[in-house]
Amino acid sequence: MEVNKDPRFLETQIPSKLVGFFKLDKLLNLARSNSQWPLTFGLACCGIEFMAAGAARFDFDRFGFGVARPSPRQADLMIVAGTISRKMLPCIKTLYDQMPSPKYVIAFGGCAIAGGPFKFPGQYGILEGIDKILPVNVYVPGCPPRPEALIAGILELRRLIQEGKTQGTMSPAVIEDSQDARPAEYKNAMSRAEFRKPPTPAAPIPPAQE
């Protein structure tokens, strides 16, 4: 297993699998899966649904993951809820690095999965999907997903942990092409003089050429 050399990275992961303590591993995973501590962290609209999932009606504390921690040092589950702007990305990576291992990531909502409605050819502001930078365990689709979907997502994560299928580590970023095929209709600048002219009936405005 790859061990992170960054001194700021907390090495609480089990480094070697030469000797497997099968029963003990299972016990540990059972314990981990039943008390996930998510990081209190909303990026955009989905953050509100994350809050709603923790509030009176949906109350995800029923399932044992209601201890939302504001500090990444105490959390082991990052719910990426919202659009990842490029300015925010270094902060997300810092937060992820500060979380103790083993840690898990849920991509919550369309933006965290693949850019959502803000994805278009040539966009300049967002990262199209958190999985280009961090390893993601569970994807929860929706724009925004309902709180029930978040609960279903965390239950799915619990199942994965209990079956020993996930162990979060830092993986290198994968640079992939955006698969967006919509044509971008970028306009050229129009002439101000042309624009200020009073409208002449039934004469379409010729598009200005640069």
Binding site: A44, A56, T83, C91, P117, P121, G125, A189, R192, E210
Partner: protein, 541 residues
């Protein structure tokens, strides 16, 4: 309030300034009284005159034309609808414009935004750096010559930013340790539970006391304005649902109003009633979310659960018609997406008395609570003058003693026919803002009750409308839960907008934080910030 243009101002402008161009506009269509094009050297004098006459700078933006940039200033009064527009032209290559930041402090951020988006240099601006984009970013995205970035550049640029961030951290960290003296800097956010999203405030502290603070924005910048330029008018609807996801109906209303005015159509009466009911229900749910999180910031956990419980009931009602829980795109041009279902009116009627009872309960729990009173009284005072200088609107302004409400100042839809008050407090502190919002919820209930009684039957759509907006410039504002939400649209008559500027209320409201927090403790910064009720994606856009 009648919409009167200030005749003496017009005279002053025509005689003293002698603008290069002066156009009287139709207020009903364009939303402004007149528009004047002046030389760049005259704009500071004009702004001073406007300030003297009690105008505030509502919006400042730029438009990219083939031969020049147009820098567009919108001024408006707090007591009546007297919006007017002043423009200057700047050259295309390294355009310069004089700064207004010495006159209107709201220009501080507006100009920084125009600088990064268009590359216009505002001479004399004290702090002209990127506001929404990363500081090392060199692109000017709202230029028409900016045709987007290559595929995969999001990852490349993001990795580069991670590197830069790490390097800057290592550079900055030893410096701040070796700093002598008692004062130091503290980052509040961008990941902080009480910044309601991803706001970062760089606090300059002496011990626990705040010397000054600077909000750093852009952590939720989602290029709404550029995106709208490349998609057609109908495809812009989801953007308005996601600008301010807590009060999305008002933003739907703003866009619907703008386009309907520009096209010169009026929606059927039933549509107007449904719109008002949905917007006011959404306003209550927005204020409830604010109340819960604001008190949670102050350390009270219980109201959070109480408020979310009530909020879910409103979401249930709205979901019947919209199918969504928060990012509504329910309105259409001249109509609605769906009619109210038959069981909605009874559900709303059941909800109103229930909610009134709960509101009384909140007052008993919170309003006279000693701990709460000690945290909020006299804290974060915003004076009338500062509110004017920063262009603050909404409950924050009404808590400072100015009764500005777009529903009364520039009446739209059926609001003139309804009987409701505009709650105003004079103190301007955190408690006043709390009181204003609490009373606004009651007023919204009054509006909903009346609108439900009078709601007529009828069609909910006008049928087919043209796909484009006539060539011209339009400005329209509505009252969102956070303040006056204005949209400035430049249309070239084609299928998509040429330029859309979103004048969002939280942007200006948050700007005034700079004046409110000096002298507070760090824990009070959270209280003051909570009382402004910001929504980050609406600020960063």
């Amino acid at each position: 309030m009648p919409a009167v243009a200030d005749p003496s101002l017009k005279q002053w402008l025509l005689e003293t300034v002698q603008p290069d161009e002066f156009v009287e506009k139709d207020l009903k269509i364009s939303g402004i009284h007149f528009e004047a094009l002046v030389g760049a050297d005259k704009i500071a004098g004009i702004a001073r005159e406007f300030l003297k006459r009690g105008y505030y700078l509502e919006s400042l933006t730029a438009v990219d034309f083939l031969e020049c940039f147009e820098v567009v200033y919108h001024f408006d009064r707090q007591d009546s609808n007297a919006r007017c527009c002043v423009k200057i032209l700047t050259a295309k290559d390294s355009g310069h414009a004089p700064t207004l930041s010495g006159i209107y402090r709201s220009a501080l951020w507006f100009e920084r935004e125009a600088h990064e988006m268009f590359g216009i240099v505002f001479d004399g601006h004290p702090n002209l750096k990127n506001l929404l984009l990363p500081e090392s970013s060199l692109i000017h995205p709202l230029l028409k010559s900016f045709k987007g970035e290559a595929k995969g550049s999001d990852v490349v640029q993001s990795l580069q930013l991670i590197d830069e961030d790490k390097r800057d951290f290592e550079l900055a960290y030893p410096k701040s340790i070796s700093q002598q003296g008692k004062d130091y800097y503290l980052n509040l956010g961008p990941q902080h539970p009480s910044t309601h999203g991803v706001l970062r405030i760089l606090l300059h502290l002496n011990g626990e006391r705040v010397l000054d603070g600077e909000p750093i924005l852009g952590y939720s910048h989602r290029h709404h304005e550029k995106m709208m330029e490349i998609q057609n008018y109908l495809a812009c609807w989801p953007n308005f649902g996601r600008l301010d996801y807590v009060g999305a109906m008002s933003y739907n209303f703003g866009y619907a109003r703008l386009i309907e005015r520009a096209m010169g159509v009026t929606p059927p009466p039933r549509v107007e009633y449904i719109r008002v009911i949905a917007t006011e229900l959404n306003r209550i749910s927005s204020h409830l979310l604010w109340l819960g999180t604001f008190l949670m910031d102050l350390g009270a956990m219980t109201p959070f659960f109480y408020c979310f419980d009530e909020r879910e009931k409103i979401l249930d009602i709205l979901e019947m018609a919209t199918g969504e829980r928060l990012t509504y795109d329910y309105f259409r041009f001249g109509g609605l997406d769906h009619d109210f279902t038959p069981d909605m009116a009874p559900a709303i009627k059941r909800f109103i008395p229930e909610f009134k009872m709960h509101l009384r309960e909140y007052h008993q729990l919170i309003t006279k609570n000693v701990i709460f009173m000690k945290r909020v009284h006299g804290m974060g005072v915003l004076s009338r003058e500062n509110a004017l200088a920063y262009g603050v609107t909404g409950p924050c302004l009404r808590a400072s003693g100015v009764a500005l409400d777009e529903r009364r100042r520039d009446p739209y839809s059926i609001y003139p026919q309804l009987d409701f008050d505009i709650p105003v407090r004079a103190d301007g502190d955190v408690f006043a803002r709390y009181q204003v919002r609490m009373q606004e919820m009651e007023e919204s209930l009054k509006i909903i009750t009346q609108a439900l009684e009078k709601m007529p039957e009828g069609p909910i759509t006008l049928g087919k409308l043209p796909k484009n907006v006539p060539k011209g410039e339009y400005y329209s504002a509505v009252e969102s839960p956070r303040g006056s939400f204005g949209i400035y649209l430049v249309s070239d008559g084609s299928l998509n907008p040429y330029r859309i500027k979103l004048r969002t209320p939280s942007f200006s409201n948050l700007n005034s934080l700079i004046d409110m927090i000096p002298g507070c403790f760090v824990s009070d910064v959270v209280a003051v910030l909570g009382s402004i009720d910001i929504v980050l994606p609406e600020i960063d856009r």
